[in-house]
């Protein structure tokens, strides 16, 4: 480096300190000026058209979502409600291939057509080689898609993409589809950790916010397991992260708002006790407190929660600690005390019905889940009309 010629400045310590302070203020001012304005305080939003839900829900339809050809394995579906007027009522995304964490696994998608009342044939929407070609670096495996529509009607996908190491060393790849029928293009990997950005994963649906943004529940999984909440604005821009627990054995959070600012997170338990765990925020996700165990068995498996309005929440979960052979639907008014409503699926001890997802679409509750790791099943519940 060329030798400095500012000897008049360099010689005096006081001058150097003042010059340093001025430089610091200048750079910090540029740093502040370049940034987006502070987002509004987050407030939870609920699906519309849920006011009429007062009675029980009854099963109206069920089936399997078509699988892509030559994909014997499927897992981790997520549902995305589409707006009224869209040809599809909802879209489903999941990962499919020869086996979980297989090199041929891709993210598959299908949508439920409003006219034909059928699921469209599945197509692959994210391929690791094509995404890597755009990003300029390799992706070893893909999995756990989570979908969301932003304030401009664009669909975002958050996908676990692994690098060096196994599944626990995954990163969250953010992709966006700007218009229907267009391809999802990768926007990058979310910056969530200093340690080569490893081991942050997604699984559960986002919590929609009144400003058009959302909070995406995610978790760290390398050794210690802890949940984090990632905030996005209405344009789908990353707006920071917040750790949700001081414990080290919680993963795969699902978020349930009890009011605009009071949110409960339900989590998968990685301890031997196998209980559903809970955390709570009273200030819209700025601070989180751990809650006592809910006394609800959970076989170290993902759950899906959906809040239809304050005081009415549904949870799809595995109720037995020893296996994923049963999947049930429960209802709660406070997200902490649950009443079992329906047996969604059950089999013998080796069966697996797991990783549910839920969406409220056209006045009905849709649930999808993994069926025996071979396919994605779905069910639609409608509220019974109340007697006049």
């Amino acid at each position: 480096m060329s030798r400095l010629s500012f000897s008049w400045l360099h010689r005096s310590a006081a001058r150097r300190c003042w010059a340093g302070l001025v430089l610091c203020l200048l750079l910090t001012a540029v740093e502040c000026w370049l940034r987006a304005p502070e987002p509004l305080a987050p407030k939870a939003a609920w699906p519309s058209g849920t006011e009429a839900v007062t009675g029980p829900l009854v099963l109206q339809a069920a089936g399997r979502i078509p699988m892509p050809a030559d994909a014997p394995a499927a897992h981790a579906s997520t549902l995305l409600a589409m707006p009224p007027g869209h040809p599809a009522a909802l879209q489903a995304y999941w990962f499919a291939g020869s086996r979980e964490s297989g090199p041929d696994v891709q993210i598959a998608a299908s949508e439920f057509d409003r006219t034909t009342q059928q699921w469209t044939p599945a197509t692959y929407v994210v391929n690791r080689h094509r995404a890597a070609a755009v990003l300029g670096f390799g992706l070893r495996r893909l999995g756990n898609p989570v979908a969301w529509r932003d304030g401009q009607g664009r669909t975002h996908l958050f996908v676990v993409a692994t690098g060096l190491g196994g599944w626990a060393a995954g990163r969250i790849l953010h992709l966006r589809q700007d218009a229907p029928q267009q391809a999802f293009h990768p926007l990058g990997v979310l910056p969530l950790s200093w340690l080569w950005n490893t081991s942050h994963l997604v699984r559960a649906m986002p919590l929609p916010l009144a400003d058009g943004g959302m909070v995406l529940p995610a978790y760290f999984e390398l050794g210690i397991k802890y949940p984090v909440a990632l905030r996005f604005d209405a344009a789908g821009e990353f707006r920071g992260m917040m750790r949700m627990s001081q414990r080290g054995d919680l993963l795969q959070p699902t978020l349930l708002p009890r009011s605009e600012t009071e949110w409960v997170g339900l989590l998968r338990d990685n301890r031997a006790q196998r209980q559903l765990r809970a955390v709570i925020s009273h200030d819209a996700g700025r601070n989180w407190d751990d809650l006592p165990d809910l006394d609800m068995p959970n076989p170290d498996a993902s759950v899906a929660g959906l809040s239809l309005r304050p005081g009415l929440m549904y949870l799809a979960h595995n109720p037995r600690a020893e296996s994923r052979a049963q999947l049930v639907l429960s209802r709660s008014s406070d997200a902490l005390h649950w009443t079992q409503l329906e047996m969604l699926a059950q089999g013998d001890g080796r069966s697996e019905f797991s990783y549910p997802s839920m969406a409220w679409v056209d006045g009905g509750l849709w649930i999808s889940y993994t069926e025996e790791r071979r396919g994605i099943a779905w069910q639609r519940f409608m509220p019974l009309p109340t007697a006049r």
Partner: protein, 213 residues
Amino acid sequence: MEILNILLSTQTPLLPHVGWVGVYRVLGWGLVLAGIALWCLRRSGNLPAWQRGLPLLLLLWCLWPGPLSPAYWLGLAFRVPSLLLVLLSAWFLLSHYRPQLLMPLPLTDLRRWALAPVLLGWVLLLDAFALWPFSLYSLGFAPLTFGVLVLLCLLPWSWHGVAQPSILLVSVLTLFVLLRLPTGNVWDALLDPWLWLLLQADWLQRRLRRAQG
């Protein structure tokens, strides 16, 4: 009060454009690999003419698109190097190939301040495993953290009159402000796990040499 909120906010991170990150990744890993190659070659003595071009070849290899490039696989495993590691590599290479432009890396001055990034790396590593009650990495998105780091990086010059380390570090932070590289988080610009390991290995090596007399 509003200024304080702006300075403390971690809710307004500005991430780099994906295209910039792509260019930075190949160039950054290219410079780092070329720097490592030159360092290894210089340790083995005087460089024959044909060896002088090896680091440059490594740099060009990284620029090759797709899986044939080392940057593709280094990106898979380690994402991107920090701005500081890239600038150190660039300085080392330029001072070797163009000594009339740049003086050699002031290793003695840099080593005097190496304890700070070593400690910072430990703190960030423990933070990745949530062993602190708050998220330190998240604070890397706050303008106040950036401002404090500028002040700290100016300490070698303003306090001790040693300019080169401060020029290097403030260059890193200036590039970060303008380009947001490598991730939009200031910790990633200043230090990456490889640089942190390198600093510790260098410290250990010097201690061993000193012990051996």
